[in-house]
Symmetry: C2
């Protein structure tokens, strides 16, 4: 695959606003997206890729002049499991995000200023509504497949239940149909870290010329622990120490701390605090089988979970499997062995990519 | 047991300073402690109770005029598992703490001001050194037993390995001889929340008339999740919602959030940020079997762990058991069934108190 580019398209206007689940209407929605491969004449080879909480449209390939490969570049590309020689792959930044798609840091056309805390609350269905408009724009009807990990899989589950004839195959990796109370508890501490940071200013931090850096960094550091595993941290860092850098007189000097510091700091450069709130909330309230009690999608489902994932352990995938099976929907689940915890969905544990490849065939 | 009182005693002076493991000398150490029951004529019925990270000297009974019973009141008292009709029970606030014993918020006699960030770094052995001085002061030689949960058990393990003939029986509940990298990762985020709070001022917050409330609250909220269990959170709160109180427009309204908010807020009233740093660090560096490679305590050990504890799961107790057994030390371990996670050590899961009672007999 050659160089790729993020494109932007306006998908809602004053005349055709995007009305959200909560009732608010967005009169200007721009969506950042990338496509890889070509849509065939029959328009039946499209694969939508849905990103997780902090992802973006850049799922595969390389941007001209930039070093960063797409976040799912190991999965998507010519000859890869999601084969861009065969499929027309679409990846879009989420509504409410901060990587090109309209979100709280975008300009509200009604005021000429950033939405800030006035950006309306979102629901998982609103992410899907923006995806749907993008596909309509691209001339894609029924999807050959939708593929997503973590919250990406949650969007696809919502989509399949809401629009039962739009998606032929769904790959849900390390996803959930309902967060546990512990999941919500971690989210809640992350939100408190952000919202109670004195620099949050009730969400009007941009007007004050600051950002709630401290809170957002701590939220990310904490969340990162839940994305990896006890085993992977032990293997990677153990009890090794590193006295360089930060003043450790009051703290400690373990290598794992430097690693978490780096994770927290680098997140500040690419993520917005209000987007973090707007994208985590729909996950916490997510309950698609409750919202769509009678939906019977025509979609075939392929679920994958990882044995070291303690954010969305296998029990989450089993709940999805059982709910779908009870409705007579075709669903298969495999738990794979992988030491890397929840983040395994971004990596290549043995068997994983083969499962995706064969399911898309 | 009638009303109890916290007492204070000066255990180090300019002429007899407490020299810490790191080399610094404290020339004035006051220790807050409580005792329950009577020391017998043979002075062989003393039981030392060691508190965990955020505990204090008030382990049992009721203070006159106060409502709060001691934190281990279900275990310690007349006729209870640690029977104050038979034993002379001693409980002391840790060195470096903030509940009566000398710590960072105490006055440094050399300057007439609070130590603040100049309070010297502590080691698990320093907590033990203060305990030892207290026992010497009380006229107690060999302990009939030492009993501690979590970090309380860690102090006792250090003590038994450092002073092999001082403790007859040791009860270590949900303890650890070595934190995992994941444990350290959580500690590290808590420390970052505190130390990077703009109100921390490099530890000189008292001089600025503030405290790092935001960071300390977030640290406590996050740590609290690790003290309970997925199951107990699910049972207690599930997905129930509660719209009272805080502005939830940008956040969510789950009951579990109110609960964590309360845990965080109430912690601010009773705990000092620098004490939090000084008491967590020794845990992270703790490695008593490495520090005392040849120690063979005469102590008999009774280890207890809980199946839902994911802070110090049973594997931690098994490591202690195996290390002690390899040295020929008498040790027994039992994993108990309990839904309440790490906090089980403060509660009464079936079989727990009976194990302690029979071991002390």
């Amino acid at each position: 695959m050659g160089y790729v580019e993020t494109q932007r398209v306006v998908l809602a206007t004053e005349r055709d606003p995007l009305v959200l689940t909560g009732g608010a209407a967005l009169e200007h929605v721009e969506v950042a997206y990338e496509t890889y491969g070509e849509l065939n004449a029959a328009r039946d080879n499209a694969v939508m890729v849905c990103h997780a909480l902090t992802g973006d449209a850049h799922a595969a390939g390389l941007h001209l002049g930039a070093k960063r490969r797409g976040w799912w570049d190991n999965l998507i590309g010519p000859g890869k499991a999601v084969d861009t020689d065969r499929f027309f792959v679409v990846s879009a930044n989420l509504l409410g995000g901060c990587s090109g798609t309209t979100g709280p840091s975008s300009i509200d056309p009604a005021t000429g200023r950033a939405y800030g805390p006035d950006f309306p609350a979102l629901d998982m269905a609103d992410f899907v509504a923006a995806h749907r408009r993008l596909l309509d724009h691209l001339g894609v009807g029924r999807l050959h497949a939708a593929v997503g990990g973590s919250m990406g899989g949650m969007q696809i589950l919502e989509w399949a239940l809401r629009e039962p004839d739009r998606i032929d195959r769904a790959v849900l990796v390390a996803a959930s149909s309902r967060l546990t109370t512990e999941n919500i508890a971690f989210s809640s501490v992350a939100r408190a870290a952000i919202m109670e940071d004195p620099d949050f200013h009730g969400g009007r931090y941009a007007e004050h010329g600051v950002t709630p850096r401290h809170g957002l960094k701590i939220a990310r550091m904490m969340a990162h622990i839940t994305y990896v595993s006890d085993i992977s941290l032990e293997t990677k860092f153990g009890h090794r120490r590193d006295t360089t850098g930060l003043d450790r007189r009051l703290g400690t000097d373990f290598e794992v701390e430097h690693y978490l510091q780096h994770q927290g700091e680098s997140f500040l450069d690419r993520f917005d605090a209000l987007s973090y709130l707007h994208l985590t909330r729909p996950m916490d309230y997510f309950d698609p089988f409750g919202t769509h009690p009678d939906a019977v999608p025509s979609t075939r489902f392929r679920l994958v979970s990882f044995d070291s994932d303690w954010r969305f352990p296998t029990a989450h995938s089993l709940r999805i499997r059982d709910q779908l099976a009870a409705r007579g929907v075709s669903v298969e689940h495999t738990e794979l062995t992988s030491p890397w915890g929840h983040d395994s969905f971004l990596l290549e544990p043995p068997g994983y990519h083969d499962l995706v490849r064969s399911f898309l065939d």
